[in-house]
Symmetry: C2
Subunit: 202 residues, 2 copies
DNA sequence: TGTCGCATGTAACCCGTTACATGATTTC
DNA sequence: GAAATCATGTAACGGGTTACATGCGACA
């Protein structure tokens, strides 16, 4: 079987260009961290890589934007061929979700751990996920409008162009919020158990 | 910064040996798929690799078990030095959780997708996660006793040896069930929205 | 006759991570 | 004067996946 020409991360960048309009690699990284955080992560080096790949495939175009006293911005936009590639990927069955959660792994083997150290790590996890929950809630309030100035003769996100919010972004944000709430509830429950054991130890 | 001597997957295998007792690589793969499915995945080739790594580190020992008309089983058990390594890892702050969910990615860009194809993929996701939910529930009923015959002079899971269930396994299973329920609720909600749009399209 | 389960490995590949690199401007 | 932001890249490395490899017994 031959290797695919693109990967989920590729389509992640492509899709962001589709729903949010033309952007530089730098902007894409910021957007990625806000909007795609619940489902995919990417470093800036990866994004620049995918942009090069997609340019070679003809899925995106690049326009240089000159700036004084700063490096030029390279603004990428999705092409018609890019829209087709995006829809074709979306029609394929997705790969199976694979979690990789080191905190849960440490908890599972809790019998062999120092209770205090374990409790500390659970508390760290709670702080981390409380932060995520807040950010996702802010996303809904601040970023629910995926704005995009309509350009004549070009395709664009119909919701964004009309000033409405993209309903899929709202659905995914709800998902992310529900997810974090469930995650946190479990962590609090587990912490309670570990702290009880910590107490009995003394 | 130098590379670590071991990784989460390494400790996943090591921890399984700690809570479930001596096992072959083949057994570890089966256990892994059942117990660690909610938080980490591993192929058999990876497990054999980690066993080799840990044997070199002195964290596990191997004993060959001869069998007629089948390949010999190599039974691995955790050493005292392995227990120490496990606890040391557990005391370190865990790496940040990074989700990679291709289905959510496809949904987020739903504006540009064929609604019927998208709905089909959501239905696939529902089937997948309903299956997971069932398996995690069965885990709780069938595998809640992490049995392990007590061997004199050797360390072991105190819960398993006494015939009690490991409370951490129960907590993690509860987590996994709550997680899948939340995930499914969101998928049903999203499917409803997509099907409504599908209908209006006609 | 063929596929599934048992049982253990090796080889190739690449996405994703980490570190390195550059350099101006603005903020504390 | 240090740190953060803007802005774009390259290089090295390895964990994780996929495919290849072997061979017996049981079961349909």
């Amino acid at each position: 079987m031959q290797r695919p020409e693109a990967y989920p991360i590729t389509y992640g960048v492509l899709g962001l260009l589709a729903i949010s309009g033309p952007m530089s690699g730098y902007d894409l990284k910021q957007r990625f961290d806000h909007i795609l955080a619940p489902m995919w992560g990417a470093t800036h080096s990866q994004i620049y890589n995918e942009l090069r790949r997609m340019k070679e495939l003809g899925w995106v175009e690049m326009e240089r934007e000159e700036q004084e006293s700063r490096p030029d911005r390279k603004v990428y936009s999705i092409t018609e061929s890019g829209y087709e590639a995006l829809a074709a990927w979306q029609a394929q069955p997705p790969s199976v979700l694979q979690l990789r959660d080191e905190l849960l792994l440490k908890i599972l083997f809790g019998t062999f751990s120092d209770p205090e150290a374990l409790a500390n790590n659970i508390r760290r996890g709670i702080v981390e996920h409380e932060g995520r929950l807040q950010r996702y809630r802010q996303n809904l309030q601040l970023l629910s409008f995926v704005k995009q100035p309509p350009e004549p003769g070009k395709r664009h996100n119909p919701y964004a162009a009309s000033g409405e919010e993209d309903p899929y972004f709202r659905l995914i944000s709800h998902f992310a919020i529900a997810y974090e709430k469930t995650y946190l509830e479990s962590l609090y429950e587990i912490l309670e158990f570990v702290e009880k054991g910590e107490h009995e130890e003394k």
